[in-house]
């Protein structure tokens, strides 16, 4: 019973409490780029979820075989393999989505959510929790993308999933600046809710980045700087 509950927790934590986009601020590139419509957002979310679940499962199964020194290249290769499979599936069964996602579909391979979960979770935990973790994170990612996609499509083209709802269109929302703006406002809301719930709020995209270890210590010291800022 206890075990079941904790497994369920592995699944749900990615959806709200540790939402990869709004709380961990990972995978910002696809979040901004493909959310010009709700349909695109769902396509991207499902594709990334598929890769995330499969790569988490394989990486966690191989975690005792992969030497620690070459783990990042090994993870990237595994992820790239699944991205290629997903790319082929999308091309075969949803060519319209393949066209609208374009370059961002193969770029799932460098999405930091996937490498981040591999590094932080799947590389250390057994297969079943890793799959659930990947599924939860994927659902959280999709939900955040969908949320942004709906806002941007509604304001920018006056429709949701292609159904015309509003006579007025504010074109700027489906252009690049609108993406940054809507994302900023959503993060603000997430931060507000998190502070109210008494949770720690993330201030840089660096904190959850899988490469942060090599970066924040030497180059930017962004964690340190932000921490002092939070104090005052």
């Amino acid at each position: 019973m206890m075990e079941k509950r904790s497994l369920f927790k592995e699944f749900t934590k990615g959806i709200v409490k540790e939402n990869p986009v709004l709380c961990l601020v990972l995978g910002t590139c696809p979040t901004l780029a493909v959310t010009t419509s709700a349909t695109n957002a769902i396509g991207m979310g499902v594709a990334a979820t598929l890769v995330l679940v499969c790569s988490n499962a394989v990486i966690s199964a191989l975690r005792k075989v992969i030497p620690d020194k070459v783990r990042i290249p090994a993870y990237i290769t595994i992820i790239a393999g699944f991205v290629t499979i997903v790319q082929m599936l999308v091309k075969a069964f949803a060519p319209a989505i393949n066209d609208s996602l374009g370059i961002y579909l193969p770029l799932i391979v460098v999405n930091c959510i996937i490498l981040g979960r591999a590094e932080m979770y799947a590389g250390k935990n057994p297969v079943l929790p890793s799959i659930l973790d990947g599924l939860g994170m994927g659902v959280g990612f999709t939900a955040a993308l969908l949320c942004m996609g709906i806002i941007r499509e509604l304001l920018g083209s006056g429709s949701i999933f292609g159904f015309q709802l509003m006579p007025v269109q504010i074109l700027i929302f489906i252009l690049p600046p609108g993406g940054f703006f809507v994302f900023g406002i959503l993060i603000m809301l997430a931060n507000k809710l998190n502070t109210r719930a008494g949770r720690k709020v993330k201030t840089t995209p660096c904190d959850g980045c899988p490469m942060a270890a090599s970066c924040s210590q030497k180059a930017e010291k962004c964690g340190e700087k932000e921490a002092t800022e939070n104090v005052d």
Partner: protein, 207 residues
């Protein structure tokens, strides 16, 4: 004509098709490393270098090995491995032979392996090659495009570092502090780049 088209490609990569502000590639370093001007500059130099190098290697491999063999689908796997290997190689060479440069650039190199802008640059030029889009980039065009993309990244980073410097002293509502205000100001910077739309096509018409 060749020079004209090269200039057009170069300017387009910087202004109208800026990889950060218009294509949303490389957002993580754009938001994470743009706090100080010198780190922003160092990161952009490293990115430009790796972009050109990666394009120089992946373009011939794609055109002369993958396409004739009919295994274009291996592109994603192969490219990410090539980039990872290249970055590692550059790091080792710099460390051994030019330690002074390694001191200033080497710290950014591990970050670049998983930078989507680098992978994006190498892939976007090829998408243009396989006939699905308008341009037909030659090897030279691809290299110029990669260099332009790097310079465009630098322009965006340096500009944004300046904007963020001003934000430090601004009085911002508490809930907007940190990342939200950074994103909102990124929206304004990106808005300014929107003004360049059509400039390159009008200046240097390619027929």
């Amino acid at each position: 004509m060749l020079i004209k088209s090269l200039i057009a490609v170069f300017l387009a990569a910087i202004l109208t098709e800026n990889y950060v502000l218009c294509k949303f590639l490389g957002i993580c370093p754009f938001l994470g490393v743009s706090k100080k001007l010198n780190t922003a500059f160092g990161m952009s130099v490293a990115v430009t270098f790796v972009m050109v190098l990666a394009t120089a290697v992946t373009f011939p491999i794609y055109t002369y090995i993958l396409v004739p063999a009919g295994i274009e689908y291996l592109q994603t796997v192969l490219f990410i491995l090539i980039i990872a290997g290249l970055v590692q190689l550059v790091e080792i060479i710099l460390k051994k032979y030019i330690p002074s440069l390694y001191q200033s650039l080497g710290i950014y190199l591990p970050l670049i392996t998983t930078n989507c802008a680098v992978l994006g640059v190498t892939m976007l030029v090829l998408q243009k090659v396989d006939g699905t889009t308008l341009y037909n980039y030659t090897y030279l065009h691809a290299l110029v495009n990669a260099f332009g993309a790097g310079i465009g990244f630098m322009v965006a980073m340096v500009m944004f570092a300046g904007v963020r410097g001003r934000l430090e002293s601004a009085d911002i509502p508490k809930s907007l502090k940190g990342l939200p205000i950074t994103l909102v100001s990124a929206a304004l910077v990106s808005l300014s780049f929107l003004g360049f739309a059509g400039v390159v096509d009008k200046l240097i018409p390619l027929s």
